[in-house]
């Protein structure tokens, strides 16, 4: 029994205690051990035929000893991961308003087409003559992305947004290099509200990041920006709509000023979903922008990826696009790979093979399903829903800025002042109400930030219930008597609040027989 430490080991006889269970389970909420605590030698979840004996070619390097992998049968594996899944919240369960992450509906048809034989099972190095349909598919998505953004070129290979940032900033470095100005232009301007990946990317490429201040309306202070622009500036990295959920109203003046100063405009496109089909970044003077297919185009977030981050490029940066890309010759498609004779000076390669094909397929299915008309409606419904939440909550909670927002509504924690309830406490209380909390403490420029992104996928009735719950929680918090209750939240989740300090102080990053986890005595819990 002690092998299964995630489950209550000792079944104590607890006739004394009322509201506890012997197993530690709570009906459908079942405690789950680690696979390493479930394994048995000689047990397996596969049946593989015994191979014929042949002389091995292992150069004497045959692995000795135990690897240490646990042996589980298929039924146990199914039960293990099913029970684990039941400890997760997900888009499929309800409102998941995680700002900046765009947790919109993930259609199942996209999963289906991505698995078609002839699509899901192609090897990236099959002869090009045997993958013409795959290349056409990628080219079709590329066409959509270029047209929707109004940009002449796109690099498809980046694996996620951050990878796209790396790609785009490398292209800018390449352009500067060919202008002989790379050594001189070492500064990248970015607002303090920028996502962490922006400064991280710029710094990795040897740029120094200089913050540009925001004005009281939450946008870039144009005057300050102009003052900051000089011969040392390589680029500006700006998210638009920005991470406060606001459209940079002076963006055209910004891009003009940036270009006038000989610098480039990197636009972080994580929030493209707010304007897709309605506004073309190309019309705003953007030089490059990554598109998170797992946000705007709904490829599943999968518990933290995989994603895809194609980067659209202006004419100025297009020549530096990395390998590979798809080329159409008449009715045939080919791949421009490393060493291929091409015009332009590709900046190199960022990833093996041809990019996140599985995400391309899903994104294209999503795009085809919506069409130009539907995508425009997506942007409008996303913005409408965010403004609706903002309007409904503006008197109970405290909006960080006034005026309409785009796809996400940003609040600060002023309304919690002197209540003893923090943004974190408020978020944890939302969990008990059946919601995933909003993004907390981001962007950094707003105190105790709460960034709510409903997306276009929620019904009005569900938004109303969500709004009602937040109102009630805010009122309870303001009552001043509920700090304890908030600190205790969540009460009903698979786990109560977790000790993150302990985790960081003594990191346990892998199972070891010696870990011996805190014993779970259900009787003790009950007593509390």
């Amino acid at each position: 029994m002690d092998r299964s430490q995630g489950r209550s080991g000792g079944i104590a006889s607890g006739s004394s205690v009322e509201a506890a269970t012997f197993t530690g389970n709570r009906a459908l909420q079942i405690e789950e051990p680690l696979i390493f605590e479930m394994g048995q030698p000689g047990r397996t979840g596969v049946d593989l035929p015994e191979p014929p004996k042949v002389k091995d070619r292992l150069n004497g390097l045959r692995r000795g000893g135990e690897i240490g992998l646990p042996g589980l049968s298929e039924p146990q594996v199914v039960q293990h991961y099913t029970r684990l899944s039941q400890k997760n919240y997900a888009i499929d369960m309800g409102v998941y308003p995680l700002g900046s992450c765009t947790m919109k509906h993930n259609p199942r048809i996209n999963e289906k087409v991505a698995r078609f034989a002839g699509i899901g099972d192609l090897h990236p190095l099959q002869p090009v003559s045997t993958v013409q349909g795959a290349l056409e598919l990628i080219d079709c998505l590329a066409h959509w992305l270029k047209t929707l953004t109004g940009m002449p070129a796109v690099a498809m290979s980046p694996a996620a947004g951050a990878h796209g940032e790396m790609c785009g900033m490398m292209a800018i470095a390449a352009a500067l290099e060919s202008r002989g100005e790379r050594a001189r232009r070492k500064t990248v301007l970015a607002p303090e509200s920028a996502h962490g990946t922006n400064p991280a990317t710029a710094a990795a490429l040897g740029f120094t990041v200089k913050p540009i201040p925001a004005n009281e309306s939450g946008r870039v202070d144009l005057g300050a920006l102009k003052a900051a622009l000089g011969p040392d500036v390589a680029a500006i990295m700006l998210t638009n709509p920005n991470t406060c959920g606001l459209f940079e109203s002076e963006i055209i003046e910004i891009s003009k000023a940036v270009h006038a100063a000989g610098a480039y405009f990197y636009c972080d496109g994580a929030n493209f979903n707010a304007i897709v089909g309605r506004v073309r970044p190309g019309d705003l003077g953007v030089d490059c922008m990554h598109i998170n297919l797992h946000k705007t185009f709904s490829t599943p977030h999968g518990g933290g990826g995989p994603g895809a981050g194609p980067v659209v490029l202006s004419a100025a940066l297009a020549p530096y696009a990395p390998y590979p890309w798809i080329v159409q010759d008449g009715d045939k498609w080919r791949i421009a790979e490393d060493g291929a004779a091409v015009d332009g000076q590709p900046l190199g390669r960022l990833k093996a093979f041809h990019g996140q094909m599985g995400m391309f397929t899903r994104a294209l299915a999503y795009i085809m399903s919506h069409g130009a008309d539907g995508l425009k409606q997506v942007a409008e419904d996303a913005v409408l829903s965010a403004n609706y939440v903002m309007a409904a909550l503006k008197d109970t909670m405290t909006p960080a800025f006034d005026g309409p927002c785009m796809h996400e509504a940003l609040f600060d924690d002023t309304f919690l002042k002197d209540t003893g309830v923090s943004t974190l406490d408020f978020a944890k209380a939302m969990i008990d109400e059946g919601y995933h909390p909003m993004t907390m403490y981001f962007p950094l420029v707003v105190h105790g930030a709460m960034l709510i992104e409903p997306t276009e996928s929620q019904a009005k009735e569900d938004l109303d219930q969500f709004i009602g719950a937040l109102k009630s929680l805010a009122e309870r918090a303001k009552s001043g008597t509920a700090a304890e209750a908030f600190k205790a939240a969540p009460l009903y989740a698979p786990r109560r609040r977790l000790d993150e300090t302990l985790a960081a102080r003594k990191p346990i990053l892998r199972w070891r027989p010696s870990n011996n986890p805190p014993s779970v005595d259900p009787m003790k819990q009950a007593a509390e």
């Binding site: 042949v54 002389k55 070619r57 888009i91």
Partner: protein
């Protein structure tokens, strides 16, 4: 629109609550010059599900599915049988449609499988600590070099000629734009390369691959010693993770960082992505690792639970000082990996590796009997290189015309290197059949 719950009535009500006449007013911050009249021109309108399905069936029909043709392609991606249980699990909405576990109380499912995944990676590689995944093996390799530069405070990486050429190009690209030296050995088709002499006091790391791009299996123990003597790190790359079921793990060879392409376990070929990068190292370098880490802790009731930890390495906390800019990684592919590996277990994983090696050995014996064909490898796992005495690319095209997917010409990844023009890489996994091998041999007979 099937995906949009708001009705026109809802939209009217909501505009009313907001206090605006039309949704256009909400876009008032968009500069006049950038406002489009209506829809973006030149793009089709929305399609029903049946029409979308047909469009993708049409794409699929223009490809040769790897399931219908005799198949021997590898070179960094391998065709394996993935149990149906794996695909079922990764499609469960609770996994598929949730995101990075920022709220641990309601993402214990994701956190626990990542903790189990990290442990499995340490066991396979023989290392002490592993992260929760990188995009794939190729990007993980350049992250490993960057990490070695941080650890050693040096900036010269030696890249083996046995390293996958695309991986090499990626490191070189990173080196060029991030400003460090990457010195690459020439393609090592015979598997004779010895890098020990090249290691010096500027060297931050040596990057080798096992089995190598050409399939050779090597022990890098001596190289590790040389690296450590010179204060450099040894980075071992594994592109066929199944090989670890049969081969001495990099950890036992003295590797400091191990990067694997995890695709072979749980993840289909998918035309090159998404895949999953495995990244493991020594405890002492833990805080220099890129990517997410899941750690064990307890909750308010004293129950064991898991959280994201050591985030001070990461961009969202550390910003320009982060160890990497990676954010979204390969969560669901890591789930596929860990579910498949859990199904395999010790016995199944070892058996799978044994079968792969046996199939490849059988194939090597068969093709080596062909006139004009020479197998270059004395050692290999499930992939090896043959020389054809004539350029390999046209041969592969000729086989494709016969609906045989007969390996990868070295020139596909090394277009500028005449010396490998005649070389063909052949891989065989548990999915290879006797009929398939016979078809390949017959095909080669015809086209050679």
């Amino acid at each position: 629109m099937r995906y949009l719950p708001l009705t026109d009535a809802d939209r009217r009500d909501m505009l009313g609550v907001i206090g605006v006449k039309s949704v256009d007013e909400l876009f008032r911050d968009v500069p006049q010059s950038a406002r489009l009249g209506g829809k973006i021109a030149g793009l089709p309108d929305h399609l029903g599900e049946l029409e979308v399905e047909r469009a993708f069936q049409a794409y699929a029909a223009k490809n040769v599915s790897s399931s219908v043709a005799p198949f021997f392609i590898g070179a960094g991606a391998y065709r394996h049988h993935v149990p149906a249980t794996v695909d079922y699990m990764i499609q469960r909405g609770e996994f598929l449609t949730s995101y990075t576990p920022y709220q641990p109380e309601i993402t214990q499912g994701t956190l626990q499988y990542l903790f189990e995944f990290q442990t499995q990676v340490t066991l396979l590689t023989g290392m002490e600590v592993a992260n929760a995944s990188m995009y794939d093996g190729s990007t993980g390799t350049s992250e490993a070099v960057l990490m070695a530069n941080r650890v050693t405070r040096r900036s010269k990486a030696l890249l083996s000629g046995g390293l996958n050429p695309q991986y090499r190009r990626i490191v070189e690209t990173t080196a060029h734009w991030q400003g460090f030296k990457a010195v690459s050995g020439k393609p090592d088709a015979e598997g004779l390369e010895d890098l020990i002499a090249a290691v010096d006091k500027e060297t931050s790391c040596v990057v080798v691959q096992n089995p190598s791009f050409f399939g050779h299996v090597r022990d890098f123990g001596k190289l590790a010693e040389a690296c450590h003597a010179a204060g450099a790190l040894l980075i071992v790359v594994v592109t066929e993770v199944v090989s670890l079921g049969l081969l001495k793990p990099p950890g036992e060879m003295g590797a400091d960082i191990v990067v694997c392409e995890g695709q072979s376990i749980g993840n289909g070929l998918g035309f090159g992505g998404p895949y999953v990068g495995l990244f493991a190292t020594r405890d002492k370098y833990m805080r220099q690792m890129p990517g997410r880490l899941v750690g064990e802790t307890v909750d308010a009731d004293g129950k064991r639970g898991f959280v994201l930890t050591l985030s001070t390495r990461e961009q969202h906390i550390r910003r320009e000082k982060a160890t990497s800019n990676i954010c979204t990684n390969a969560g669901l592919c890591a789930l596929a990996f860990t579910v498949h590996l859990t199904l395999l277990g010790e016995a199944g994983f070892r058996r799978l590796a044994e079968i792969n090696h046996t199939k490849a050995a059988q194939l090597a014996d068969k093709v080596s009997a062909l006139p004009g064909v020479k197998v270059l490898n004395d050692s290999f796992f499930n992939e090896f290189t043959i020389s054809l005495g004539k350029p390999a690319a046209p041969v592969v095209e000729a086989l494709a015309a016969r609906r045989i997917l007969g390996g990868v010409p070295a020139s596909r990844l090394l277009p500028d290197d005449k010396s490998v023009e005649n070389l063909l890489l052949l891989a065989a996994t548990e999915t290879a059949t006797d009929e398939g091998m016979a078809a390949l041999v017959a095909g080669l007979k015809e086209v050679l």
